[in-house]
């Protein structure tokens, strides 16, 4: 049993005071009288009579003392352990800034502090949460330092950011109302007034740090180009050499020196020979080595194979010009990704081929608007039909979901088929329209190609920031792939609807292998907020021994003491009333 308000025991001083008052008040005064005969039936104070009368005064005193003691006990807010103690929810900052400092990193110091804490509370159930961009429970509930060691080994601090507030909220939700919450991080809370059952412990230390905060790679037939942006998160100027090192070719690394003032950033461009594979931009070691490396793969944009089967010559010309303008289409009749036709689509098409079927209406009505566009559809990105005359017939209506309409007349529709295939329908009479002469025409075709290219096998982006989720498109006949992460571990992943989402939880090169093809993407930390260590500090905010914290997991007993005191009061009243009745019959 513990007492939340032990100073209330000072109230026990009332016990001797009450006893003294009682004894002084009940002390008999000696008085001489002429005769006792007239006092024969006066109430006797201490002697004679029935048992109740014999113990009348002491019993009242005892009841009063008991009531005082019970009230004091209730005031101390006594609590008893209710079964098992409330869980300890530990929120672990999983951001990579916790790695700063090497052997003296916040991660290591926090681990030691947690071990010491859990050794002091071996019976307390502990649950860990890692607070990355998204909070996540880490393992099952454990007890004691030994039980927590295995779980803590999985706390690797690789996240490019942290949301400790969300993690603490999740901890409170998971732990329940009696849980204590310990936040372990390297920086102080935004609001230093941490109250209740949350305790915030920071183990950080402000350090200067030079980091790569942005990196990109563009690919061109003439050669690749890398952009590396370096930031100096320090209070002093720094000089460093940035090297871009080819990892899959024999070329020598490209180097550039950079001199940065406090808080400055500088973007560096590196020209690379064409055809190179993975390269790494590297900074010299400093307080945080995690953000000194950025991995970059060539950003490959394979062309979309388009079969053009359009009999209407003006329309076919407009289509050729538009497709050429995009630079992403390769007109070919073999294994097309996209078939554009003004007649019936060919009967034999590869399963991954999309179709754009254009209906050239003989009877057409020229519309000038207003046009209704489904802005959520990728086909409508960047379109502006102001001033556009679109000639089409109202009937028969186009099947599918309208993407572009004028009034209630669909002009472009979409139908989704199995296997990720899509079929677009467009109706247009070019002779009465100016759409093909407007800038919207190549934009519409570029959107169509980009939409189709997004479903070509491979990742949507070759270079991503750490923590990003990469969507890979796979051939229709691939049910399962093997994902190899930068640490060398491989996992089999099932493919749903030709799509696979892979989250880049570690920096480096990811490989997704399927039968006959390997797709790759690279992840780099690139998180300026985490690379900036100047705001890190050590400290402790909030205390569990405050009233709200220490009550967790304990059953309050004060109400029982209050009830007992009430019973004693009732007994006292009854006894006092009975004795008064006896004195004054």
């Amino acid at each position: 049993m513990i007492f939340t308000l032990p100073w209330a025991f000072l109230g026990l001083l009332a016990v001797p005071a009450l006893a003294a008052i009682y004894l002084l008040r009940s002390r008999s005064r000696r008085r001489q009288v002429s005769s006792l005969m007239l006092w024969a039936d006066a109430t006797r104070a201490h002697e004679g009579g029935r048992i109740l009368k014999t113990f009348h005064l002491p019993l009242l005193l005892i009841l009063e003392l008991a009531a005082v003691a019970l009230l004091v006990l209730a005031a101390t807010d006594p609590r008893m352990q209710a079964g098992s103690p409330g869980p300890l929810m530990v929120v672990l900052d999983d951001s990579f800034s916790m790695q700063a400092g090497g052997e003296a990193s916040p991660r290591r110091r926090a681990g030691q502090a947690l071990e010491a804490l859990l050794r002091d509370e071996p019976d307390t159930p502990v649950r860990f949460l890692v607070a990355g961009r998204e909070p996540q429970l880490l393992g099952e509930r454990v007890r004691g330092a030994d039980g927590a060691a295995e779980t803590l080994a999985r706390w690797q601090c690789l996240s490019p950011g942290t949301d400790l507030e969300r993690a603490a909220a999740l901890a409170a939700q998971v732990g329940g109302p009696h849980a204590r919450i310990l936040v372990v991080t390297d920086h102080p809370p935004e609001d230093p007034d941490v109250r209740g059952r949350v305790r915030w412990r920071a183990f950080g230390h402000g350090r200067p740090n030079l980091a790569i905060v942005h990196a990109a790679r563009s690919t061109d037939p003439a050669g690749d180009r890398c952009l590396v942006e370096v930031a100096n998160f320090a209070d002093r100027p720094r000089r460093a050499t940035v090297a871009v090192r080819p990892e899959e070719s024999d070329g020598s690394p490209a180097r550039q020196r950079v001199a940065l003032g406090p808080g400055e950033r500088e973007a560096l461009l590196f020209d690379l020979p064409p055809g190179g594979g993975l390269v790494r931009a590297v900074l010299p070691d400093d307080a945080l080595g995690f953000d000194n490396v950025a991995a970059l793969l060539p950003e490959e944009t394979p062309p979309v194979r388009v079969r053009l089967a359009v009999a209407n010559e003006p329309l076919a010309g407009a289509l050729r010009r538009g497709l050429d303008a995009t630079g992403r289409a390769r007109l070919t009749p073999h294994r097309p990704h996209l078939v554009i036709t003004d007649g019936e689509p060919p009967a034999t098409l590869p399963p991954e081929a999309w179709t754009m079927r254009i209906t050239v209406d003989a009877e057409a009505e020229a519309f000038v608007g207003p046009y209704v566009l489904d802005r959520s559809h990728p086909l409508c990105t960047g379109l502006d039909f102001g001033g556009v005359i679109w000639a089409a017939d109202r009937t028969p209506p186009l099947p599918g979901r309208p993407v572009v309409s004028v009034g209630n007349v669909p002009l472009v529709t979409e139908m989704r088929r199995g296997g990720g295939r899509r079929e677009f329908r467009l109706r247009l009479r070019p002779a009465l329209s100016n759409l093909t002469q407007s800038p919207n025409w190549p934009v519409l075709l570029w959107n169509l190609l980009a939409c189709r290219a997004g479903y070509l096998p491979g990742p949507e982006r070759a270079n991503v920031r750490l923590g990003a989720t990469v969507i890979l498109t796979l051939p229709a006949d691939v049910p399962e792939v093997e994902v190899r992460s930068p640490d060398g571990r491989t996992r089999q992943r099932a493919v749903h609807d030709r799509r696979l989402a892979v989250q880049a939880t570690r920096p480096g090169l990811y490989e997704v292998r399927s039968e006959g093809a390997t797709h790759r993407f690279a992840a780099s930390p690139l998180a300026p907020d985490e690379s900036n260590l100047r705001a890190c500090e050590a400290g402790e905010w909030g205390r569990w021994d405050q009233a709200d914290a220490t009550r967790t997991g304990l059953r309050p007993l004060g109400w029982m003491a209050m009830l007992a005191a009430l019973g004693v009061f009732v007994g006292h009243l009854a006894l006092a009333g009975r004795s008064a009745k006896e004195r004054n019959p």
């Binding site: 002429s34 109430t43 104070a45």
Partner: protein, 293 residues
């Protein structure tokens, strides 16, 4: 006699000089005396006429009246008496209750009555009731000359009255000064005292603490005579019951006094002294009169 007792007697004597004892209406039979009684007697002082009844002394027939009225009538003469006053003072310890003016009032009243008796031409004798009733040394003289009076007996006066009664003067007036706070049959005591007396006056002398004790909470009461102790809770209710019992006790005595033709009056000592020994109650009872000497 110690100094305070002497002072009490002197104070009573001074107060008694303002009063004279009234002769009782029911005077004792007796041929001679120095005072004319209120009843017919054999003195030379004409009192009244009344019709003749058979057996009356023929020498008292008023023949002149018979001549005038043709009726026989008797001349009545006042009785001539020579009264004596016996002052019986309760000598128990309760009459000298510590912290009260009870002894002062009792001794003063005795001196007052003796002085008033002397002023009325009555002889007096003071008695003190201890283990037995015995005359106060020099108790027939002026109160200032009385011998020592010790109020320290542990025996109630009734036991002495009934066991060894004093030799009181026949046909005299008798005054009993006591607090009457004892258990027993007052009728027996009063009957014994009233026997042969022409008048019995009982003066109950109480201290204010006897008549109206203050509330004192838990109190250890000590009987000043027996030394017995009793723990009581003297709250308002207990005191009310005390006063009720005292009233019943006094009624008991009043009833007994009426039975024997005695007069009973209660005096609260502190009130008497604070009032300058004003005994108007006794005057109203026809025991005393204001002296015109």
């Amino acid at each position: 006699m110690d100094r305070p007792s002497r002072d009490y007697l002197l104070a009573g004597k001074r107060a008694g000089a303002r009063y004279a004892l009234l002769a009782p209406k029911r005077a004792p039979l007796g041929p001679t005396g120095t005072h004319l009684a209120n009843r017919p007697g054999s003195s030379l002082e004409f009192m009244d006429h009344r019709a003749y009844h058979a057996g009356d002394d023929l020498r008292h027939i008023d023949w002149s009246a018979y001549a005038r009225t043709d009726r026989l009538s008797i001349k009545l003469y006042r009785q001539e008496i020579n009264p004596h006053v016996d002052l019986l003072l309760d000598g128990s310890r309760s009459m000298d209750l510590t912290g009260t003016a009870k002894a002062e009032a009792a001794l003063g009243l005795a001196a007052l009555l003796a002085t008033a008796a002397e002023g009325a031409g009555f002889a007096h004798r003071a008695w003190i009731g201890t283990e037995r009733w015995q005359p106060v040394p020099n108790g027939t003289a002026d109160p200032a000359a009385w011998g020592p009076i010790a109020l320290e007996a542990v025996r109630n006066p009734d036991e002495a009255v009934l066991g060894s009664p004093p030799r009181l003067a026949p046909r005299g007036m008798r005054f009993l000064l006591s607090d009457l706070l004892w258990l027993g049959d007052p009728s027996a005591v009063l009957a014994r005292l009233a026997d042969g007396a022409c008048r019995l006056v009982v003066l109950q002398v109480l201290a204010r603490a006897d008549a109206d004790p203050p509330p004192s909470g838990n109190t250890r009461l000590v009987d000043c005579e027996s030394g017995q102790e009793r723990e009581v809770f003297a709250d308002a209710a207990a005191l009310e019951r005390y006063r009720h019992r005292l009233g019943r006790h006094q009624q008991h005595w009043h009833r007994a006094a009426r039975q024997v033709g005695a007069t009973l009056a209660t005096v609260v000592a502190e009130n008497l002294i604070a009032g300058g020994w004003d005994v108007q109650d006794l005057v109203a009872e026809g025991i005393l009169e204001v002296s015109h000497r």
